[in-house]
């Protein structure tokens, strides 16, 4: 029990430290790149006086370190501040974009699980069979396609060849939920493709490994059916490693969605992030990066915890 608590506390401290390092990195990167939010907003036609006026309004005339300090204070109190470029609170801006990014990630994750799991189970039944080999080859190919390339191909196929969709026609979930899911399906599929391959490959080898182990042979000799062995023994034992792999895939999907959004012209976090960089909007940029880092770190944290609960040996390592 003590070791369990100590393990959790250790992981938690790790989490806080990671977040702090992330915030420092964003800050450091921001002080190095040239550019000024006020000037970018006003463009080259603005006079020096106009730029200075806006800088003062935005609070940009204060030294960067002071702004970092007040930002960090804000984060701790769950208030990431106000965006320079949009004059809106950062949490509100992120909130507006979340439906796209979260929806896309959720659909993509669902696709990964629904497609890769059954395929892996079937493939692993008789490794080396024609079906298994075809799956493996396709898997290798899919694994090599980056999401943005897959996006372009899908847009070409679905949009231009079959005229099935209107690319970039984002529908908000509150207006029309079916339409919302509809416009996210194709981009989600583009993100999911390589992850399907990844998860398939991993699960398949993990199942094969379990199936050839001694306890399966023993169960077989006890007369248990294939399905029972699969459901009762093989899958639970592969699960420990799939928890880790799924958390990795989930954070990959989150990252992938930022890029795919651009290709599909969807108003998600990715575009907001690029805009924040373009416009040197420090509160917004650091807010988004911090938010993404937070989700990723939390995911890993949860998966570590889950894996340690499923397999107590992990805690002892």
């Amino acid at each position: 029990m003590k070791s369990k608590a100590r393990y959790f506390i250790g992981k938690f401290i790790e989490l806080i430290l990671t977040l702090f390092v992330v915030s420092l990195l964003v800050f450091a990167a921001f002080s190095i790149i040239p550019g000024d939010a006020a000037r970018i907003m006003l463009g080259p036609n603005a006079s020096e006086a106009q730029v200075n006026l806006l800088r003062a309004q935005m609070g940009l005339d204060k030294p960067l370190i002071a702004r970092y300090g007040s930002w960090l204070l804000g984060i701790i109190t769950f208030n990431p501040g106000t965006s320079y470029a949009f004059n809106m609170s950062v949490s509100e801006l992120i909130g507006q974009r979340l439906p796209v990014t979260v929806g896309m990630s959720a659909i993509a994750m669902l696709m990964v699980i629904v497609i890769s799991y059954p395929l892996a189970v079937v493939s692993a039944r008789k490794p080396g069979r024609l079906g298994d080999q075809i799956c493996s080859v396709i898997g290798h190919i899919l694994f090599a396609i980056p999401p943005y390339a897959a996006s372009l191909l899908l847009i070409l196929l679905a949009g231009s060849v079959f005229s099935l969709i209107t690319v970039g026609n984002y529908v908000s979930p509150s207006d029309d939920f079916i339409g919302y899911v509809g416009c996210l399906l194709l981009p989600s599929f583009a993100i999911a493709l390589p992850k399907i391959a990844m998860s398939f490959k991993f699960l398949r080898s993990s199942i094969i490994e379990q199936r050839t182990s001694d306890y399966v042979r023993t169960s077989k000799s006890h007369g248990l059916s294939d399905l029972k062995i699969l459901v009762r023994h093989v899958l639970p034992n592969s699960n420990v490693s799939s928890i880790t792999i799924i958390s990795i895939i989930l954070s990959d999907i989150l990252g992938g969605s930022l890029i795919v959004e651009q290709v599909f012209n969807l108003p998600g976090l990715g575009r907001l992030l690029l805009m924040a960089i373009d416009r040197r909007d420090f509160p917004l940029l650091s807010g988004i990066v911090f938010y993404l880092a937070f989700i990723t770190v939390i995911l890993y944290f949860l998966s570590d915890i889950a894996a340690s609960l499923a397999d107590p040996r992990i805690r002892l390592k």
Binding site: I33, P34, G35, D36, R39, I40, M41, L42, G43, P44, N45, A46, S47, A49, Q50, L53, L54, S83, A85, F86, M88, L93, Q96, R97, M111, V114, I115, P118, L119, V121, V122, R125, I155, A158, F162, L164, I165, T166, V167, G168, N169, V171, G179, G182, C183, L184, L185, L186, F189, S225, D226, L227, Q262, N265, P267, R271, L272, M275, D278, R279
Partner: protein
Amino acid sequence: MHRFITKAVVTASALCLAITGLAGCTKKPDEANNNAVVGITQEPGIFDPHTVVAAGDKEILFNVYEGLFKYDYEGNLNPCLATDVEISADASVYTFTIREGVKFHDGSDLDAGDVVYSLKRAAGLLDTQDGTALVSELDPVKDVTIAADGRVEVTLESPSTELMCYFTTGIIPEGYDNCQAAPVGTGPFKFESYTPGQSVILVKNENYWQKGLPYLDKVTFKVCADMDAGLTELAAGSIDIFPYLTPDRVSQLDSAKFNVLSNGSNMVQVFALNNAVEPLNDLRVRQAINYAVNRKDIISVTMDGTSVELATAMSPAMGSYYDTSLDGTFDQDLEKAKSLMAEAGYENGFDITCTVPSNYLIHVNTAVELASELKAIGINLEIKQVDWGTWLEEVYKGRQYETTVIALTSSYAPYDVLERYQSTSDGNFINYSNSEVDKLMAQIPLTADDAERTALYHQVLGLLTADACSVYLQDPTTITAVSTRLEGYHVYPMYVQDMSQVKLAGN
């Protein structure tokens, strides 16, 4: 059992693919709706008519706010909220008659008090302000008052004949200070909402003072990630109007579904040379570069030959202010260029960098073409792409560069176009300095006679050309695609998307 699993797998996968295939049978815009969607690639940001500077914001707000005067698509300055203006003989007092029967979007009536408040606010003269003019060009305004006859009198600190075009500055209700969040003007459209990264929505002003206008009920300015994303939406029908296209992209559009309109942009694309760095501080080197460049080739590479060639710092679109005698001054002449290089001691050429903003494809392409042309006189142009924020900070403000390619302001005020060549100007990023030019520029606002003023502008242009201060390339054409379901759209030779005249085709 295993047959069951196989079946389940096949069904699940097929289902997934099928759902994906159906992906968003999202609705296309209704043919009959009385709305229009304009694609924009610049994120809007400022909605206050006095602090707005960026072209991408101005072109939207043109529909929301109106000034005492207003430009039309031919570049004429027409009376708008003022019915006429009287300028004193020494050009130090402007007296405006205010139009009657105009209502603000909030329902209140426009009166002289609103005009006084707005102009004072723009010029930084309100008691609550520190004196910094929000519209810096209105800085010379000393006072704005209501005359005995109800007209509005604008008094200047020193005479200026060059101020008329800044009275296009938006008029807002007296005492109103919340324009950024909730714009209120007198324009043909009311501001409805702004969703960052997505859209600005304007709706019809039912009480617009110009009877019968506007035609549309709703106009959406939709933010697109870039030109190609916008084109995809245009082709799919989720955007109706898409400005600032390049000729190669236009050729991909279906001509049955889109009308392609174009007009001069009155912009000056320049291969800017930093006059303060070696070897560009040598007049002969700057002349040699001017003679080495083939403007026709640049225009054909970047704009498919559609643009107007430039010889000096002003576009011919400026009419009489432009000096036609300068045409062809720097027609390509490689022999002359080579001998000038030799004279300056650079017969073997030199290496130099060109820092271009990567977000403007036309400038990047221009730089590439320039690099290949300058090889002929031994100049090795190394292209360095930077993002817009970096360009503004390092090149424009910091002036830490050797050469760059950029397009300069689209303004109908000749003074605006040439103001930056004064040695002390904020906008003088090429570090040009000629006391003769400084003197002439100081003299222009004090000259009441139009012909005399025009002659002074010609002198300034002559000096800039003689000094070969930079390499002026082209006035790029603005090309806009408009869905055939709409008509009445005009391409302005400045940053304006005038939606008041746009209506459904056949109505």
